[in-house]
Every structure is written in C-alpha cells, then in structure tokens.
Symmetry: C2
C-alpha cells in the first residue's frame, strides 16, 4: 500500500518562506512575449499542466509557478532570460526534477525553465570518447547511445531514467560510480551557460586539457542554477566495462564493513567500480515494503551489508580477482555471509536492494532525508546516536550510502510529517556533522532544504565570496531565489 | 657539450615589458618589516642569493627581485601579503620554479614568495588515501611517503624531484598520469589559500564529496598565483600499482599511432596508465645529445614512437593483457617494431627516452616551446606545417606529448635566440590552433610567455569574467602581475 503524504503540510512549502518583493508578478504581457520566444507549444500556464513541474517526486517540495517554459535552443534560453531579467521575473532552471533538496522546484510563482526539449547529442568522438550534447539529454538514453561506441557515462544514479545531464552537472551529482571515475568536476570538459542577463558564455571546449586562464565552468558545476543556466555539456565518457561482477556481503559490525572497503580498494584497485553499504534496517524496509527478497533468506538479518562491484575491460581477470578477494574475506571472518551474482539478472536483483531503499522509505512514512559526508570511522556513529535520540518518535532510522566516498544517507521516517521529530533531528544532525568537519550535503546540494545550513560546512569568508560571485553574475538575483544562498 | 644561451637577450626579459607605476618600490622599511615576519633566515635580498629565484631552469625567463621571502606557515604568508597589499608591493608566488612559461619568475623587482619551507605532511589517512599537506611539499618526496601506505600521488611529472604540490595545483599540472587518474580538478579535495589582502580562505576539507555551495577552490586551481597564494592542499591519493609494464613501439605513420592509442584504451581500459608519443626527430635528439640508446638500434629511425604503460593491482593480469595486446598490434601491422621492458631498469630506460626530450632540446639550441591541445586527428599536421614553414631557419622541429590527452609539445630550436624564427612561428602557431578550436596552453599555463595569447582560446565574455574575478579577489592587482591576464 503506497502512501504519499501529499496532504501533510510541508516544512518546505511557500507558507514557510517569504516571497521577495523585488520580483515582478507575471502578467499577460509576459505570457505573450515569452510565447513569442518559445512558440505556443513551449509554454504552459494552466495549473493542471504545471503541477508536475512545481512538485518533486518525494512530495516534500510543493510550490507553484506562473509558467513553465520549454525552450528548444540556447538562443531561446538567452531570449527568455533577457526578458525575465529586464522584467525582474524570478526563474527556476529545471532538468529532470529528480533532485532531493528542492533545488529545481519553484516556491511562489517563479517561472520554471525546463531543459527537457533540449535533448540533442551534438557529437560523440569514437576515438577519444569526448561527447558534446544539450543539457536536456536524459542520462540513461545518453548512456545507451554511448554504449554503441563502447563508452559509458562517467556518472550513474538511481534516477537515470529521468534525470538530465544538465541537471547532473548543475548539482554536481555523485552516484555509485564516483568511487571509480571521480566527480563530474574532473570529467566535464566544457559547458555552455546562459547568464541571468541572457549573455551566452561559451566554455564549450571539447579538449581533455586546457590551461588558458581560470576554469570558469567550475563555478557553474554544482551551483544549482543560481549562477547561470547550463544549456550544453561536453564530457569525457569512460570506457565501457565488459566483465561486471557483483558481490553482496553481510558484516557483523560497521568496522568490518570499513575493513572490507579498505581491502577492496587495495586488492581490487582499478577494477573496483562500486562499494556501497546498507544497514539491517534498510534491508528490512526493502523486504517489507517492496517485497524484495533478502539474499540470505532464512539467516538472521545482519546489521550491515556491503555491495562490491568490479568491472574490467575485455581481457581483464576482474572476475577471478573478485572471487579470490571474497575467499580471503571469508577466511579471515570479515564477512558472515556472502553471495556472488551468477548472472546479470542476479546482479540487477542485488543492486535493487541498494537502489530501491529510497522508494521503500517513501512507503514507510514521511521521510526526513539527510545526505552527509563524514570521516569513515565515525560515519555510522551518527545513525546510532540518532536512533537513541529519536527513540519512540521516529518510526524507522536507516543508514546507507557510498562507503567508498564516506557518504552517509541518513533517513528517518514518521507516520505523519512531524514537527516534533524534525526538531529533535535538527539542528543536532548538522551540528554533529560540523563538529567532525563533515559536509551537511555530500552530493544532493543545498537547494531549498539546506540553504539555511550552509554555515555548518562553509566559513564566513567562503560564504562572503559566494555572495560576491552571485552579485557579479546575477546582480538582480533572478536565478533560483531562496536556494543555496538564502541570504542573497 | 651543454650550451645554455644565458647571454642571449630573451623575449621574456624585463626589457620587453613595462613596469607598472602603480606598484611601490621596495624600501629598507619593507625589508625590516618583512624580516620581522619571516625571521632573518627567511629573507634574501643579495642578488647572489636571489638569482636562482628570478631565473627559470630553461633560462628563457630572467628577471629580478627585490627580495625573496620564505615563510614557514600560513600565518606568515598572511602577514606578508597584508604588508605588501598595504604598501602596493607586487608579489610572485613561487613553488619549485619548474614551470615552463615564466609564471613563477619575477620580472622587475616583484617580491618572490617561496613556499619551499612549508613542506610538512599534515596527515595521511591510510584507509581512504586522503592526504593533507603544506604547499611546499616536493612531489617526489610526497609520493615516497605515500608509497609507505600503498598509495601514490595522482599526478606525475618529469620535474618530480623539485616541483612542489602547491605549484602543481596552482598551475593545474597535467603530466603523464592524467590519462589514468584525470586532472587535479578531480583529485584535489581542499585548499588553504591566502588572498592578496592577507585573508586566509579555509577550503581545507578532506572529504571526498562536499556539495554545499560553489566549489570555490576550483578558482585557484590553475590560476597561476594571480588570485591567491595556495598554502595547503588536501587530495585523494591513488592506489599504488603493483605490476607496471612498459612497451615501446614504432609506427610508420601518425594515424597508426592514433590507432594504437584508440585500441589501447579499448583493450587495456582500466590498466592503461600512460600513452605517450614522440617523433623521429625527438629520438634523434635524445640519441645525439644525451647518448641514450635507440631501443631499435640498427633499424631505421622510425617516424613515430609510442610508449604504452599498464599498471595493475596485486591480483591483476595487466602484464598478460599488455602482451596479448601487443601481439595483436604486430599481427595487424599497426606497429613496425616493439619492445617490452623485461625489468624495472629497462622500463626506466624507455621512459627516459620520452622524459628527457626537454633536456636534449636545451642542448640542441635556444628552444621555442609550445604546449597545445588539438583534436587528435589533426595534432601532428601542425608539426608538419611548422617544419615546412621554418625550413632553413629552424635547426630542429620536434613533436611529442601525451597522445591520450590530445596534448602536443611542439618545440623548435635555433642556434641563437632568433627574432626572425619567433616571427615565423608566432602568431601562426596560435592562429592555427585557434582555428581548430584547440588550446594554446594545454598544461603549462599562460604565465608570462602566453598571457598575451589568451584571446586565442578564450572568448571576450570569458576574459571579461576573469577580469571581474581578479578585481574581486585582488583589487590592487599585487599578485603575480604581467602574468595570465596581461590587461589587468
């Protein structure tokens, strides 16, 4: 039975914020001028049509929009922004709307600028793997096109079927392949960006190396649409692996899980392609709510599970490397139980246990989601501290994430959206993280949800510099207001 | 016989530039105040002592300095900059002084701020490979320390024995491992930077992931000391490989060399750790000037050579992968000749052929150096065009570089520093590169040498944005003047 909690008042709805008086109201004149730019099929104003763009899939963020614009080219994006900047109309750039912090959702009446109709792959260089494409290309489709040339996208996420590459870059999306291919900051080669005033910034080099001056495109990677709208991306695709193997392991302590990671890095080195963990609570939820079978059926629910994936080129022995590695882990009793997927179907089933946790949580109740970077040795202590702290108030307290990146996804559920629970969690969770010099947003970004938390992870000097940059690039502040930098 | 051409007038000496009147002259008062900060052993003013800091190893850049300062801490760097900013004294940050474009060399009387006494490794996390260290750590020493924990630095350069990690980051150094581990933009996790006015910017996170706001540290990576002085670095070390194999191949055409690269990427995938090329002219020079033996002694000097290196973890079969790959290349006649190093000594000898080309060039004559990114298919056309164009004027015209990165090192020599040759090369070489949407500086940076060439690779909007950033971070322009952004 699915429950979506769409009727509970959200802490992130318009009611909790104040609309800035500096922005103009959308008028008939604007509708006419903007239709002229994008054509009659490129604009939606009927709330029945616009609701999917002003609500996110977690249902945590429910705003409103005066109009959704769907330009087909960079020139159209530039014309839209020129108009909006002149008229002081606020704009929210939106990709696949799969973010988890409300970064792409309008709040009051901001215009949504959707890149979904900009989905052309401009070029794939078969020799170098350098790809040039529009921002609206859906990750999964892009990856399928790259597969034809023996390449793969350098980023992969559970939302691959709807997220867009432009949104991935704008939020510096992490995902499960980061441990192998690094962040988008290393693999993105060029960007085409439109500034708030409509100026097109052409950083669209498709060279692997370019040291002529400052790397300006980096400012826009991870800036959540607050500094400019990304319309084009060039990136370096990675060689597609031929032999992919997945092992699923059970550990009796988090320390053992860390040790499994440490050894996997040493022993599997260049063929390690993922190292994920989930706790027994997460397993219970995917079993209960999604009917996914525990691979160790009949055994006790272990406290920790680790998913290790290896991926190698055609001639590599990555499969036998993984097997030998697993034998040694058993011998040294670092794992209590383990399974090696015999085929692709089994591998997919094991991955589903990890990738569908978010879905199971949504069924479990109203979800309080936290995405934190912490020193590995202390990472799970927070989940335990939280369990103690919220005993009797929270329904489930779940920890999972990217072990290799020190990235914890901490989730707490309750039957209804509970202000009491929220107050027990925050600011404690952020203070705890800050005191360990962790990050209050490892990969999701700040968006609307955590904009007010920036000081936990950034110094006053850094925040000042961010404000100076915002002022330099978007002096009227029309791009994605209320997000990332709330004080601007 | 070594000739250093130190007496030829350089195109990059003070005589060719105009000292900016906005900077104050260094006085007794400054000497006294600055000594107070760094102590009597931390300041050099005698030209006999300062010359090594105002000249680079290529001898192309010969400037002068009023004083060399060697702070021992970030607090000292901050105090120095506060003084210099108040007094309008220009400052050149300097690491190992191994750059090739004069970015770290003072021109008139700028104060040199050397990071050489800031060489402490603050922490190495054995589990994650995350390193925190001071800017002045010499790359080779740092790498040796990492080796003790099974890790390696993510960057490697011929100048590893003297270059410093802070300088590597400030110039976004590329090198031979980029094809495997990507650029420093992906592997640097945090920076500590001192702004021109002495403000310390603490971006010193040592987390693999942090998406809380803009990634400000990226502005300083590759900014050649014009926006701030890097005093601390945290980065992700890479797993040290256990099996390393080097093959050296001869090809009859550049197209065949490209095909070798393309296949090496496909077939060797994750174990490919370098793919370098050099032409027959480069081979002739290392044979003649350095007495290095051509590994195919007795055969004709082939037009192209490709060095392929694989590196794998303990259990990997990277050696046999390389062998099978080489057999197939021979079978398909993509290579005319080839050798696989039997041991570490032979591997080092093969690497020397590629790494010591710069040294051989310096003996050959006065060197005109260019470092370009080009589309791979057109990369060698430029060397051929240049040979035709400079026939009878240039002594040697040599092409080599990082095949996997589309990075050509084009070098031309003459017996004396020849203005005539310089005029035949430039601006042609930059125009040719720009017309192919290449980069006029792939990895060396702009420095003093190419500051005036920025427009070939950057749009007016990008240059304007760089100027705005410079103004924001260093309003008086005291940091590394005349470099990177000459118009500021």
């Amino acid at each position: 039975m699915k429950k979506f909690f769409s009727r509970s008042a959200s802490r992130f709805s318009a009611a909790a914020f104040q609309r800035s008086a500096k922005f103009a109201k959308f008028t008939e004149f604007d509708a006419r001028e903007l239709s002229r730019i994008v054509g009659p099929n490129g604009i939606l104003t009927d709330p029945n049509d616009t609701t999917p763009y002003s609500t996110d899939w977690t249902r945590q963020f429910q705003g409103a929009t005066a109009a959704v614009l769907k330009p087909k080219s960079t020139a159209e994006v530039a014309a839209i922004l020129r108009h909006c900047n002149d008229r002081n109309l606020a704009v929210v750039p939106q990709g696949g709307n799969t973010g988890l912090v409300g970064g792409g959702v309008p709040l009051f009446d901001e215009i949504v600028l959707s890149t979904s109709r900009m989905n052309e792959i401009r070029a794939i260089d078969a020799t170098t793997g350098i790809v040039v494409c529009e921002a609206g290309c859906v990750l999964e489709r892009l990856d399928a096109r790259l597969a034809e040339h023996g390449y793969a996208a350098p980023v992969d996420l559970g939302s691959r079927g709807s997220c867009q590459i432009g949104g991935n870059v704008a939020t510096n999306a992490g995902g499960t392949r980061l441990v192998r291919y690094g962040s988008l900051r290393g693999t993105v080669l060029g960007l085409e960006v439109v500034k708030a005033d409509g100026t097109v910034l052409d950083f669209m080099t498709s060279l692997r190396k370019d040291n002529t001056g400052f790397d300006l495109k980096q400012l826009f990677i991870g800036s959540e649409g607050t500094l400019g709208v990304i319309t084009g991306v060039s990136f370096l695709a990675v060689q597609r692996s031929v032999t992919v193997d997945v092992a699923y392991l059970a550990c009796s302590s988090f320390n053992d899980a860390i040790e499994v990671y440490r050894r996997s890095r040493r022993r599997l080195g260049e063929v390690l392609s993922a190292c994920e963990f989930m706790d027994g609570e997460a397993m219970r939820l995917v079993n209960t709510h999604l009917g996914l079978e525990n691979p160790f059926l009949g055994r006790p629910n272990y406290p920790f599970y680790v998913l290790v994936e290896t991926a190698g080129s055609a001639g590599s022995n990555s499969s036998s490397q993984l097997e030998t590695f697993l034998e040694d882990l058993f011998e040294e009793k670092l794992v209590c139980d383990g399974i090696l997927a015999a085929d692709g179907r089994q591998a997919t089933a094991l991955w589903a246990l990890r990738e569908r946790i978010a879905e199971a949580l949504r069924i479990d109740g109203y979800v309080h989601k936290y995405d934190l970077s912490l020193p590995l040795s202390q990472l799970y202590e927070l989940v335990e501290a939280m369990r103690k702290r919220t005993g009797g108030i929270a329904k489930s307290v779940v920890g999972y994430g990217h072990l290799g990146d020190g990235n914890l996804h901490l989730n707490l559920t309750s039957d209804e959206n509970s202000e009491q629970l929220a107050n027990v969690i925050e600011p404690f969770v952020y203070e705890w993280t800050a005191s360990r010099r962790g990050s209050v947003s490892a990969e999701h970004g700040l968006g609307l949800m955590k904009a007010h938390c920036i000081s936990y992870s950034k110094s006053p000097e850094a925040i000042q510099m961010m404000m100076d940059l915002k002022r330099m690039l978007d002096p009227k502040g029309i791009l994605n207001p209320y997000k990332t930098l709330p004080m601007y």
